[in-house]
């Protein structure tokens, strides 16, 4: 069990004459027993951060502490961490039993019998007891995944590190393993840092989510908070599926004027004081298609999901997405009118992207639609 403290972590790769800053001045704390998800697009530095925590990469600047212990200069094997790799990294020539026991054999003084006992108890926890004598190539993807987890769990480490462990599984298995991993983490109560590029996974699994971009930490917080109160346009854009609708609008008194005749009247203009242009964001679930809406757009595609419909609309050159009631099925080419609550509106600085106004807590999560008559 350990609390992770990352101070001013910077990682620079020197490749000949140019140097690439992979992680820049990262400050992050992970509480004891917490499940923290590092999320961001590929190349954002999340995996590098994880590898620095693991001790697989030296840090260029900054320090790492696990609890009271400064681990910055320690080797990975001395940090009491276990890592699950994206491609599982099972030793191909060893059986499942040997794979799981390998770390114990090398780094502890346990006897063969004790190792065997621990391997078996972990195997039964993961439901892979009958696979113990098999080689990795005889296992399915999901089974390999379990073995990789078993290898991490059996060492009873202070910290679990997981690098996109579910990305090689098919969608159904991924959803199953997601729940299983969460349950496992709760049972074991081990501090976990989990890296993924999939924001759905991040939202679903993390106690807290840390969003990274270009090597810089953008925001850390509980999933709900990140979704509702993003600190900037990048976070708003990255979190949420389908993505938030964004367009640029001019401020004219108390109204926002956007492309293709878009206009919206603000009742409270405090957040946009001193700005002449802003970026406007509305989540797909906050758009309501209704006959008396102030704006109109042309429907291009409607995707029925069963429990809801995704309605893709064109507003000039912009595409808007609305999550609407499954009973509501406008036809392609039809012009519909839409509206949204000012409470649900996001506004960002047009230049810096910093948030000026985010969705207020008054807006209930979920879909709100009115069926037009």
């Amino acid at each position: 069990m350990a609390r992770i403290e990352i101070d001013n972590l910077t990682k620079v790769y020197d490749s000949g004459d140019e140097s690439i800053v992979a992680v820049e001045d990262l400050d992050l704390e992970v509480e004891d027993g917490e499940f923290l998800v590092l999320v961001g697009p590929s190349g954002c530095g999340k995996s590098t951060t994880l590898r620095c925590i693991a001790g697989l990469e030296d840090v260029t600047e900054g320090s790492l502490r696990f609890g009271e212990r400064d681990v910055t200069a320690l080797r990975g094997s001395e940090r009491d961490v276990a890592m699950v790799f994206q491609n599982y990294a099972l030793y191909p020539h060893m059986t499942v039993r040997e794979n799981i026991g390998f770390g114990l054999k090398l780094s502890t003084k346990l006897t063969a019998a004790e190792i065997s006992e621990r391997v078996e108890s972990v195997a039964s926890m993961l439901g892979i007891t009958d696979l113990l004598e098999d080689k990795p190539k005889e296992l399915s993807g999901g089974q390999q995944q379990r073995v990789a987890l078993g290898r991490a769990i059996v060492r009873e480490p202070a910290v679990f590190l997981m690098d996109e462990p579910l990305s090689n599984l098919d969608a159904k298995l991924r959803a199953e393993m997601r729940t299983e991993l969460q349950e496992l983490q709760q049972d074991l109560d081990v501090t976990t840092v989990y890296v993924t590029h999939d924001q759905t996974e991040a939202m679903a699994m993390g106690d807290r989510v840390a969003v990274m971009n270009d090597g810089v930490l953008q925001q850390v917080g509980p999933p709900e908070g990140i979704y509702r109160q993003p600190v900037n346009e990048f976070v708003a854009n990255f979190i949420g599926s389908p993505s938030i609708n964004m367009l640029t609008a001019e401020i004219d008194g108390d109204s926002l004027t956007g492309p293709a005749g878009f206009s919206y009247r603000l009742s409270d203009t405090t957040s946009v004081k001193g700005h002449s242009r802003v970026r406007v964001g509305v989540r797909p679930e906050d758009i309501t298609i209704t006959d008396d809406g102030p704006n109109s757009a042309t429907v291009s595609v409607v995707e029925p999901m069963g429990n809801e419909n995704f309605c893709y609309m064109e507003l000039g050159d912009h595409e808007l997405t609305a999550r609407i009631d499954p009973d509501l099925r406008p036809r392609a080419g039809e012009t519909v009118r839409f509206t949204f609550d000012e409470e649900a509106l996001y506004l960002f600085d047009a230049d810096s992207g910093a948030a000026l106004k985010t969705k207020s807590d008054a807006v209930a999560p979920g879909i709100e639609t009115e069926v037009s008559s």
Partner: protein, 278 residues
């Protein structure tokens, strides 16, 4: 449809006929060697040649053994080739592992200069090597035969290429499990390289087994001779004992043939390693 099948069958027949012919052509000298080893010298030079093996093999071998201790020669060759193969395998796989999986200064120039030594023919190296060996007083020793060829550029190249196919995550995972770099090498990398090691073992063994000019220069005492050197000595100056040469040659190919048969499956997959995505 039927026309096509007949065409296919004809092609198949021609292909197999061709392959069979080539096999026979290649086997004739080998067969003749074995037959000749079993014939007395006078029957050997008869025309038309005999095609059925005779019964004089043991007599020929006894005559050979009387002229020189050929059993000892075979032992010398086997000993040198085995020691060389084991040591060189270890060295080449370690060097290949380092070139494939570690970053260090001058890695690329170093690797390419090792590769560049491939263009040097043995004939060019024999004299300088002999001088070096005589300076350290190693002439007429086995270590002088083994040592200069241990860092085999083909072996280093082959191991580097194949080691590159080991995923980094596998090594990192072992590192996290607490394995030292040496443990990572022999517990993770080497077992993953089994078929490449088998292929390289055959290549190295064959190289040392066939080495002629260099041992001829280094070895003086006939009791230290290797097979190729001894075979050359058999030709003599007045009379050529074909029967004895054929016995010696037949015996010389046996260890090599055994090695190949044992490792042949790994040899093929080792040579092809990395050519297909698994």
């Amino acid at each position: 449809m039927r026309e096509q099948r007949r065409k296919d069958a004809v092609w198949m027949f021609l292909t197999y006929a061709f392959i069979l012919t080539m096999v026979v052509v290649m086997l004739i000298p080998l067969y003749w060697m074995i037959v000749a080893a079993t014939l007395p010298q006078q029957e050997f030079i008869e025309f038309p040649p005999r095609l059925i093996p005779g019964t004089a093999f043991l007599d020929n071998f006894a005559a050979l053994q009387e002229r020189m201790n050929y059993v000892l020669t075979i032992w010398n060759s086997v000993f040198i080739a085995v020691v060389y193969t084991v040591l060189s395998l270890l060295l080449c796989s370690m060097a290949g592992f380092a070139f494939a999986k570690y970053e260090f200064r001058f890695k690329e120039p170093l690797f390419y200069s090792i590769l560049a030594t491939l263009v040097l023919p043995i004939q060019l190296l024999v004299i300088p090597l002999f001088l070096m060996m005589s300076q350290v007083g190693w002439t007429d020793t086995f270590r002088a035969i083994i040592l200069p060829w241990l860092a085999n550029p083909i072996g280093i190249f082959l191991m580097r290429q194949n080691m590159r196919s080991i995923p980094d995550a596998l090594l990192e995972s072992a590192r996290m499990d607490g394995a030292s770099e040496l443990q990572i090498f022999y517990r993770i990398a080497l077992p993953a390289m089994r078929s490449s090691l088998a292929a390289l073992a055959i290549i190295l063994f064959l190289f040392q087994w066939d080495l002629f000019l260099y041992p001829l220069v280094i070895l003086e005492d006939p009791g230290n001779y290797t097979i190729p050197v001894a075979l050359a000595g058999l030709e003599g100056t007045q009379r050529i004992y074909y029967d004895q040469i054929m016995v010696a040659t037949t015996l010389a190919i046996i260890p090599m043939a055994i090695l190949f048969l044992v490792l042949q499956k790994q040899f093929v997959s080792g040579i092809l390693a990395g050519s297909l995505k698994e």
